[in-house]
């Protein structure tokens, strides 16, 4: 075990895979200097044929990944902010997510797209989105949302080895967070959730950047005598439905915390699945704690107002369990 920053863990995972397989190619805007930090030193180590800066042209970056993968390479595209996926969306929505079906299974597309998700840094509306709902809806791409250093490394390695398009969405502002990473080869399988804290009164499913405030809320609630179980799904596609249902079977209550906007959020999907498959397990309504259907504002106080945090998560749990407390802020925002 080694204490490793999350951004370094992603770096380590990519470097290990590049060393393991000469067909792994990395490109993106500013990857040689690595402004994001996850590729620092990689250009010096591997050279121009393995990692290179591109022009700013997201439409081509995602499309080129399809062609390069078709030519037998394993492609890693660093897209910086997930908002930039919108610019590169044709090749994601019309090509890489569909070509395997369209070609009757002829194509394998080992493509890993890395981008940060979420706000909290006053990056304002065009650099703060949590855009995985649109990816989940495509049906043909895997979506990983690591929240710890160990998962960041293990999921990026699994993504690079996958024969399918995978998105590894880094939690914005958490790159410096330290975590233990197992020594040696460390892969995290897709579709296996992690129980971050055990509890028996309520299940809190928290995604990506939301794991940290959910754990803080669980600690606060524990002081109040409420035992919350915090589940980190780690991947949204595929999704570990069994892990969530098993927890709800124990607790009878579900709160889903998602930084994506409320409408068609991952939280909405998880709530729907549990309502359909686990209704008999529930002792009360499912609660979603999400960002309302607004653009992320710049001012720190306004940003904190819309993005779910510890207080809103704890408040939602208290209300769900009938333990009083003030009304959930999200209700006022959404009203």
């Amino acid at each position: 075990m080694a204490r490793t920053r999350l951004i370094q863990a992603i770096h380590d995972g990519i470097v290990e895979e590049m060393a393991r397989d000469p067909k792994v190619i990395v490109y993106g805007e500013d990857v040689e200097l690595s402004i994001v930090g996850d590729l620092r030193g990689v250009h010096e180590q591997f050279g121009h044929d393995r990692i290179r800066n591109t022009p700013i042209c997201e439409t081509t970056l995602t499309g080129m990944a399809v062609g390069l993968a078709s030519a037998g390479y394993r492609v890693v595209v660093q897209m910086m902010f997930s908002n930039f996926l919108y610019t590169g969306m044709d090749a994601i929505g019309n090509q890489m997510s569909k070509l395997r079906l369209m070609t009757g299974g002829q194509m394998e597309l080992p493509i890993t797209i890395i981008a940060t998700i979420g706000g909290g840094s006053s990056n304002a509306a065009q650099h703060s989105d949590t855009s995985y709902p649109m990816l989940m809806n495509l049906g043909g791409v895997n979506v990983a949302v690591p929240a710890t250093s160990a998962d960041a490394k293990g999921l990026v390695k699994t993504a690079i080895r996958s024969p399918n398009p995978c998105f590894v969405l880094e939690p914005n502002g958490r790159g410096g967070d330290q975590g233990e990473v197992p020594d040696g080869e460390h892969l995290v399988p897709f579709g296996k959730a992690a129980v971050r804290r055990e509890g028996d009164a309520v299940t809190v499913v928290a995604i990506g950047r939301m794991v940290k405030p959910a754990l803080a809320a669980a600690a606060t609630l524990a002081d109040e005598g409420v035992s919350a179980e915090v589940i980190d799904p780690r991947t949204l596609v595929p999704f570990d439905t069994d892990a969530v249902l098993a927890s709800v079977a124990k607790t009878g209550h579900l709160v889903v915390v998602d930084e994506a906007r409320e409408c068609c959020s991952a939280a909405s999907q998880i709530a729907a699945v549990v309502a359909e498959q686990g209704f008999a397990l529930l002792k009360g309504p499912i609660r979603r704690v999400t960002t309302p259907n607004v653009a992320i504002p710049y001012a720190p106080n306004a940003e904190a107002h819309v993005i779910p945090g510890e207080a809103r998560i704890a408040s939602a749990v208290r209300e769900l369990l009938g333990r009083g407390g003030r009304p959930d802020r999200s209700e006022r925002v959404l009203a």
Binding site: P55, S70, G72, D90, G104
Partner: protein, 342 residues
């Protein structure tokens, strides 16, 4: 018209014309596309095909002239009007026909249809329903070819309509910057769907490539020899590490944007019968046939024999498609992801 036929050479050479054997292959390639498209036109009109078909009649010289220089290991991306590229690049006519008939035996097992015919084993990266999408895919394949360093090229077929997509600028920039072996083939057929190209296009399309320092050839796209010569130069440049090339082939779409377009036009129109007839007079197959026979190196009997053989192949492909099994609907659920490694 002259054929440019090089009767002294047993094979093609830089600057020369196609040999007699190569000329026969070009003719066969064009006739195969024509007969397939005519049959699809008729079967579409008869209501036998489940989806829309976008036909390549009149533009055959472009696919045939370019793909004559390609090997299976080379890559090609195509358009929504992709049957001609598929066939010219060596795709199986039975597999394509069964695909368009939505049969289990289809090259894409009935999951893709007319607009997505692909054969990855032959470097045919697929017809594509998104105008301009092939540009970035071909550029990526060209990047892979460059990294492999073994002389492969990637050809991108696209139209005048795609030339107004921003991705053309992006891919010309990257291809030129990195010296990628990409051959951009703009089939300027005069129409962006239902709008004359001139109404929606400023400047000249080949100038867009010149702006990025990409070598350009402007050719009569209904003259298969001219296309063949320009493509030969472009492919040789790519194989030799000389970077991208751009060919504008001016041609004409004889059929509508898609078959049955009269239903959506509802009596409206965007071109005249006289204009279509003018272009019928420049039919690439009739011109090539006439030039070949008048040059005397290929006999009319040789060409008639090809016509008959192609006719049989197309009839066989249609019979194969008609007799095929319906597609397996459950494939829609199982084909989205490749199996993950254990």
């Amino acid at each position: 018209m002259t054929t440019g036929l090089d009767v002294t050479s047993a094979g093609s050479r830089p600057g020369g014309g196609p040999s007699a054997a190569e000329a026969l292959r070009l003719y066969e390639s064009m006739v195969l596309i024509r007969r397939v498209e005519e049959r699809l036109r008729d079967d579409s009109a008869a209501g036998k095909l489940p989806g829309a078909v976008h036909l390549y009649i009149g533009e055959e010289a472009v696919a045939a002239g370019v793909c004559a220089h390609l090997e299976d290991r080379d890559y090609a991306t195509s358009t929504h009007r992709g049957h001609g590229h598929f066939l010219a690049k060596g795709g199986d006519v039975r597999g394509m026909m069964a695909e368009i008939w939505a049969k289990r035996e289809g090259i894409c097992r009935g999951m893709g249809g007319s607009m997505h015919v692909a054969d990855i084993s032959k470097g045919i990266l697929g017809a594509n329903g998104i105008v301009g999408a092939g540009l970035s895919i071909a550029t990526g394949a060209g990047f892979g070819a460059k990294l492999d360093g073994d002389g492969k090229v990637a050809v991108c077929f696209f139209g005048d309509g795609a030339s107004n997509q921003g991705v053309l600028m992006e891919t010309l920039n990257v291809s030129s910057l990195w010296g990628l072996p990409v051959v951009f083939v703009c089939e300027n057929n005069g129409f962006s769907e239902f709008t004359p190209s001139a109404e929606v296009t400023s400047g000249r399309i080949p100038d867009r490539a010149r702006a990025f320092g990409v070598p350009v050839a402007e050719v009569d796209g209904n003259d298969v020899t001219a296309v063949w010569q320009a493509a030969g130069e472009a492919v040789r440049r790519g194989r030799a590490g000389g970077g991208p090339s751009f060919i504008e082939a001016r041609t004409y779409r004889i059929q509508g944007h898609f078959e049955a377009e009269s239903f959506v036009l509802s009596g409206g129109g965007y071109r005249t019968e006289e204009e279509i007839e003018t272009w019928r007079q420049r039919d690439p197959i009739a011109r090539f046939r006439s030039a070949l026979t008048s040059a005397g190196t290929v006999s009319a009997a040789d060409l008639d024999r090809i016509d008959a053989e192609v006719g049989d192949r197309v009839a066989d492909a249609v019979a194969y498609a008609e007799a095929g099994e319906p597609a397996d609907p459950e494939l829609a659920e199982t084909l989205m992801f490749a199996p993950e490694e254990a």
